[in-house]
Symmetry: C2
Subunit: 275 residues, 2 copies
């Protein structure tokens, strides 16, 4: 449901990895569906989600997070009793809660978050290897059917992903730190410089701000949905800025270097070891 970068890439990846699978796509724009059909990311297209899910073994929500509630309402009566439902949303508490309220069989819903994608948007950027070697987080709860979790995780594994389980609460708290805060700070960075300063920027600035080019509507949904956690990380950022400001104000060069060295060590540890 939703045949953009992620939905389209799932179609392409599934069709190249799983023999005999049929992909049904839902989208509200026929031009997008036509593009997805032309790229063979989907085999069949519907403009009403309830029509799309009717015969599906596995339903994957790939729209922006803000549409999940309405989408679940629409598909609930049309799902096969044993249909599995998952999603690719960047936040997990709300979708898990909505499924428990809206789906006739919430045990067959397994929250997923494949950590893949880019600041680009749309079927034209979809590619079959988007998920290869990337991490997929699943967020089963006490209500989730264990076989449903296994089945959904097997699907992501067939697309080449590594799996990790978290609670929805853990997920949203951790992702605020490594995804939603970075987006907010990249946006701040893109906002502050004057036009003249921007005209001088180098590769470092472009890399540091690339994610800020992401779709504002998509990120509005993520920010609003996870705003308690995001607020916590923004306050932590303010605290860290105050630390750096006070080191600069006192002119303590050694302390500035120690502060930079701690950050550099943490960042360097994320790079693969040199060959």
């Amino acid at each position: 449901l939703g045949v953009g970068l992620l939905g389209g890439s799932i179609g392409l990846a599934a069709k190249s990895s799983i023999s005999g699978c049929k992909i049904i796509g839902y989208g509200h724009r026929t031009s997008t569906l036509d593009a997805a059909l032309a790229r063979k990311a989907i085999d069949q297209a519907f403009t009403r989600p309830e029509d799309a899910v009717r015969d599906c073994d596995l339903v994957i929500l790939c729209t922006p997070v803000g549409m999940f509630g309405q989408l679940l309402d629409q598909i609930a009566p049309a799902l096969m009793p044993e249909a599995l439902v998952t999603d690719v949303g960047s936040t997990k508490r709300s979708v898990v809660q909505w499924t428990e309220q809206h789906l006739p069989n919430p045990g067959r819903f397994v929250g997923s978050h494949p950590i893949a994608g880019s600041e680009k948007r749309g079927i034209q950027f979809a590619r079959p290897d988007l998920f290869a070697n990337a991490l997929c987080l699943t967020t089963p709860t006490a209500l989730t059917n264990p076989q449903a979790v296994e089945a959904v995780e097997s699907f992501w594994r067939l697309l080449g992903m590594r799996l990790m389980r978290l609670t929805p609460e853990e997920h949203d708290s951790l992702l605020a730190e490594v995804s939603h805060l970075p987006h907010a700070l990249a946006a701040v960075l893109a906002t502050i410089p004057s036009d003249k300063a921007l005209s001088l920027c180098g590769k470092g600035f472009l890399d540091a701000t690339r994610i800020a080019a992401g779709d504002p509507g998509l990120w509005r949904d993520i920010f609003m949905d996870n705003r308690d956690n995001l607020q916590d990380t923004l306050r932590a950022t303010r605290g860290e800025l105050d630390i750096l400001l006070s080191l600069l104000e006192t002119g303590n060069a050694d302390a500035v270097q120690a502060w930079l060295a701690a950050a550099a060590a943490r960042r360097q540890a994320l790079d693969p070891p040199p060959r």
Copy 2:
């Protein structure tokens, strides 16, 4: 003077673009000088800067900014009267001031800042195309000899660079916005997440924090040298974070989207138009 990433790349680039030029390298470690000789980035090596500059037409300071004062003191008595002196430092007010105090012929000094490099450090990362199509800022003052400016700019042009002139004050203020602040925020971003959160990070986080892996000593010098401007941008960042925090606290989704959209538009404008 200094044969690391920038000094070594200048040697490689000059030797591939300018026929018959001879490159003399200074470094305080013989192992670095040996590596630079082996890569043919330099033709001759000295471990005392005053020995290195004695017969040079153009002297380029490529050490960390914090060493410039001492280095200028050491080379001043050894320079040929008509020698041109420039540098590749990331800040410009202090080096310009030092040259006016330390050099016998300050009119022959032209501050330069080639906006090229990376978070990597050392002669092993040097490459002859590091400067191709990149921007080089020069910061002549009323004391600078106009022919010296032309000559230094011609040198950078031979290495493939585009040129722009700024006052030292403009330079340091603008670079705080597009280079020093981004480094500080990347370091903050690398500092805040828990180890568990870091283990989930994707490409977006890695790109946004890459510059934070840069050499802490080098960046300490830059931060300390430009700390008034950096403090201003850090305070502006705090103000922008407070704006976002208040939008999130009031739950104003439209305003959050407008804030994100403004940042996305500014960032998108920096990308080359799609083919």
